[in-house]
């Protein structure tokens, strides 16, 4: 799973860096409105009258209209919006969603290796797209329809303030959307849980017993397109033959099962481990080069265009270092009082020689005291071996009792205490090295983390839906905002454009900075026509290249400036976190809430000024 670099920043840091952007957004909208309103009023009236009108509107807004906001009026407008939406049969969207789920078996890969990810990704994406589409249509057409049908005449001739009309619509459509989202979420949860639920059986006669260890192995029955290897420990069976846990299955399709003895039979329990909310504790990533020296450039580039991950070379001193902070002993005490340092790695494996393609690549972990004034013998633990494979999450649970260090005097391994000997002021470094010659491990900052006690999957799902809800609210705000001065279809297209711009703001930025190869739209077209690769230098005359790059530069600068005004919708999409089983950090929710609130106030203010500046009956 890809984690944006900005997620590693604290909420306070993020807020301080985005405050300026938000202030600029507010300024841009207000100054933009004032200039445009003045220009239009000056054309239709006179400059003097236009200035008087603008000043009067601003004064009336802050002295009369905003202080006299009426909740009853706003709620009446909301009620109307709800009635309008429901009588326009918007709940049909829910029926459509249920129909999608009913026939999901037709288009979902039921044999997928990660059904939980597939189902969660599907229901969350379907909910998001259906809801956002609905929000766009509802919000973009409502006010223009009122103006077209002139029903707005009977509203604006009542003591209703412009922002109450705006807010009423936003709240009303948000209420309808919320109802739909709750319905979709409930049905989705049932769909995922029921879709993943399955049973296996064990053929008692097919178990192969090792009499010396008391361990029995075998395979479960084939159900839901998979079977599990299992191990039963006869030593766990109680002397009186009563029921209890006696074994587990291996991981398959992202889950495992416990095996119980019940009435003399081995019963496979329900699937576990597929609906998770792992809480990762991230460290800061840095690299040592192949000679063990700090690397300014980071890791190696193995030639992949996507530079999210860097690589370290096997059988060299090339090292990836994660430094963790604020670690305390009680974070790692398990329920059975055994202290374990739970590491999880999502390393990529890049093989420059084929070797045994089925075998995993060996690596080693070193736990290191970050205090550099200490001698190296004191800083480093003994290497802890592990094996990694492409696209496989590797869990390494390091028992505190297994952490050792080579005695500098005797040269023998001795047990050490993690917190006394290696953790310095809550800080600990984890070094990763690849042990195989000519093979590489690839990693990004989020690819190694310590697992804190897991959160609730259901709570995580609710947080994800909160993100979808906030996206819906933003879309409604944008739709209603555009509909204050555009007709329905143009307001809809504008909303779609802003949402698309917000979703692809990062990509536009990457093209503009050159991080995404291939250049802007004109350069890309030229490359396509002349069949030149995106990563190659463009082969044309110098003047032609200059012209193409200038035109692209102008276009991209404009697009980037516009994209900065749009909310970054990609930051609100947390479905991959839920699908991959990662807890959504509260910081993320807070950022989204702040962003939503900023756009809420800016757009309500802008909507108010536009509505009060336009002639409803013109």
């Amino acid at each position: 799973m890809v984690v944006d670099q900005s997620e590693f920043e604290s909420f306070g840091f993020w807020l301080s860096s985005y405050m300026v952007d938000f202030a600029m957004l507010l300024l841009f909208i207000l100054v933009g409105w004032a200039i445009l309103a003045f220009a239009l009023a000056a054309i239709r009236n006179s400059p003097g009258r236009a200035a008087k009108m603008i000043a009067g509107t601003i004064k009336r807004a802050f002295i009369v209209d905003f202080p006299r906001t009426s909740i009853r009026r706003t709620m009446a407008m909301s009620r109307l919006a709800i009635q309008e939406a429901i009588r326009n049969k918007v709940l049909i969207i829910f029926v459509l969603f249920v129909a999608l789920l009913l026939f999901a078996g037709w288009f979902l890969d039921v044999e997928n290796d990660h059904p939980a990810r597939l189902y969660l990704g599907f229901v969350l994406s379907a909910s998001t797209y259906l809801l956002l589409a609905l929000a766009m249509f509802l919000s973009a057409f409502s006010l223009p329809n009122d103006i077209k049908n002139r029903t707005i005449y009977t509203i604006t001739t009542k003591p209703v303030r412009a922002h109450e009309i705006f807010l009423g619509r936003v709240f009303g459509f948000a209420a309808v959307g919320t109802l739909l989202l709750v319905l979709m979420a409930s049905v989705s949860y049932g769909f995922v849980v029921r879709g993943l639920d399955h049973e296996h059986t064990i053929d008692k006669t097919a178990i192969e017993w090792d009499e010396s260890t008391g361990l029995g192995t075998g395979k479960t029955s084939l159900d839901a397109y998979h079977r599990h290897d299992f191990t039963i420990n006869r030593n766990l069976e109680k002397a009186d033959g009563s029921d209890g846990l006696v074994g587990t299955t291996e991981l398959a399709k992202g889950h495992s099962h416990n095996i119980y003895l019940r009435d003399g039979d081995y019963i496979v329990g329900p699937p576990t481990g597929d609906l998770l909310a792992r809480v990762p504790v991230y460290g800061v990533l840095s690299f040592l080069d192949r000679y063990g020296q700090p690397s300014e450039e980071g890791g190696l580039n193995v030639g992949k265009e996507w530079t999210y991950r860097s690589y370290i070379e096997g059988n060299t001193l090339n090292t990836a270092i994660w430094e963790f902070e604020n670690l305390t002993e009680d974070m790692f005490v398990t329920s059975n009082s055994k202290s374990v340092l739970p590491l999880e790695l999502n390393l990529r494996v890049f093989r420059s020689t084929k070797g045994k393609i089925e075998s995993r690549i060996r690596g080693e972990i070193l736990l290191v005291n970050p205090e550099e004034t200490l001698r190296n013998e004191e800083r480093f633990s003994a290497p802890i071996p592990f094996e990694a494979d492409e696209f496989v999450t590797t869990q390494v649970n390091i028992k505190f009792s297994d952490i050792r260090r080579q005695n500098p005097v005797t040269g023998e391994l001795e047990n050490i205490d993690l917190f006394r000997d290696l953790v310095d002021s809550g800080k600990l470094q984890v070094h990763i090295r690849c042990k195989e010659h000519a093979q590489f491990f690839g990693m990004a900052q989020a690819d190694l983390y310590l697992r804190a006690p897991p959160g609730s999957f259901e709570a995580n799902l609710i947080k994800c839906y909160l993100g979808i809800w906030m996206q819906m609210l933003l879309v409604i705000l944008l739709g209603v905002f555009f509909s204050t001065f555009l007709n329905g279809i143009v307001a809809l297209i504008s909303t779609v454009a802003i949402v698309a711009m917000g979703m692809f703001a990062g990509f536009i930025g990457d093209i503009q900075t050159g991080e995404a190869p291939g250049g802007g739209p004109i350069e890309s077209i030229v490359r396509n026509i002349t069949q030149q690769g995106a990563t190659l230098e463009l082969e044309m005359g110098d003047t032609a290249i200059e012209v193409i790059k200038s035109l692209d530069g102008f276009y991209l600068n404009t697009m980037e400036s516009l994209a900065k005004l749009a909310p970054d919708f990609s930051k609100f999409n947390m479905s991959s976190k839920v699908a991959y089983g990662y807890d959504i950090h509260l910081d993320l929710i807070l950022r989204q809430l702040v962003t939503t609130m900023v756009y809420f106030f800016v757009l309500v203010l802008a909507g108010y000024f536009i509505l009060t500046s336009r002639e409803i009956a013109a």
Partner: protein, 319 residues
């Protein structure tokens, strides 16, 4: 709330040099909808804006309600600028067409508009009951407005204009879409509201409506004010005297003719007056309501036709 506030004769609506010019995108003048209009509407009167289509009546009303902005001049309602929303607390507005939400029923419609006036639930309930009785739609109050006839929609439109018991009632073509009974009821209601102390500003191109109810009128043509004053004084023909008397014999009529001739007056006409078609229609319908099945004009019904007689070309007036 309304009737006691303010003094009779106080200026409620005022326009000063009010001008509206519609311009195109490039700022070029397209239509001069209203040219330097100066008007006063006083508390407690029925003021009519009269004029042909496109004369600027509706534009004036829209400017007063803040639905349009003046190009120059001022529009003041209760002494406040027309763009000031707070003036709407004391205004009721019936648009030319009843622009209402068709998916609501009558009760929901009035409840919605009551909420817009920040009225409490109890007050809304009582106003809705009173108004639905007033417009005689109790039997259809739970039907969606999309099922209403034009006349019913007009009546519910009027009810929404009265929901806040306004001091000033602005009526744009109030009798449009109403049948003769509805028209008469509307006119009666307008007079009744005036008698309760309300101020009414209405515009219409139906001269009879304006003449029937208005105290003062302004006649607009091509955006200009052509005439302004009390209806009675504007319509008074100074050099003609009209006498109406009942039960005169032909001899007495002859004596009157002679008297006029002797005093060197000119007899313009002496005849039995005719009722208006509206009066005739209303009397027939009301009579029919009170005596269902009764046919009033037996003499107009054709006699039983003979076998070879021609069929009458037109049916009887009343069947």
């Amino acid at each position: 709330m309304s009737t006691s506030a303010g003094q009779k004769g106080e200026v409620i609506v005022e326009t000063r040099n009010l001008t509206k010019t519609y311009k195109d995108f490039w700022g070029r003048s397209k239509v001069h909808a209203l040219k330097a209009l100066d008007l006063n509407v006083r508390r407690g009167e029925i003021f009519g804006l009269l004029g042909p289509n496109g004369s600027g009546k509706s534009t004036t009303i829209k400017l007063l309600l803040g639905l349009l902005f003046p190009t120059s001049g001022e529009a003041l309602v209760f002494g406040k600028d027309a763009a000031d929303v707070s003036k709407n607390e004391r205004i009721g507005y019936l648009p030319e067409e009843s622009y209402l939400y068709k998916f609501l029923n009558a009760e929901e419609t009035l409840d919605f508009y009551g909420r817009l006036f920040n009225m409490s639930a109890a007050r809304r309930k009582s106003r809705i009951r009173d108004l639905i009785n007033l417009i005689d739609l109790d039997w259809a109050k739970r039907r969606q407005l999309k099922e209403y006839s034009k006349g019913m929609t007009r009546r519910i439109g009027l009810a929404q204009a009265l929901i806040n018991d306004p001091e000033l009632i602005v009526l744009d073509e109030p009798t449009t879409g109403l049948d003769p009974i509805g028209t008469r009821d509307m006119k009666d209601l307008i007079v009744r509201l005036r008698d309760q102390g309300k101020t009414i500003l209405m515009c219409s191109h139906l001269l009879a409506d304006v003449q029937d109810v208005c105290d003062r009128i302004a006649i607009l043509h091509q955006g200009e004010l052509k005439e302004l004053g009390a209806v009675d004084s504007l319509l008074k023909v100074q050099d003609i005297t009209q006498i109406q008397a009942k039960n005169l014999t032909p001899e007495t009529e002859e004596a009157i003719r002679k008297l006029i001739a002797e005093s060197e007056g000119e007899l313009v006409s002496m005849e039995n007056p005719t009722a208006t078609l509206e009066d005739l229609f209303l009397s027939i319908v009301r009579d029919s309501d009170s005596r269902p099945g009764f046919v009033s004009h037996k003499e107009d019904t054709p006699a039983e036709p003979e076998a070879d007689a021609e069929q009458p070309e037109e049916p009887a007036v009343a069947e």
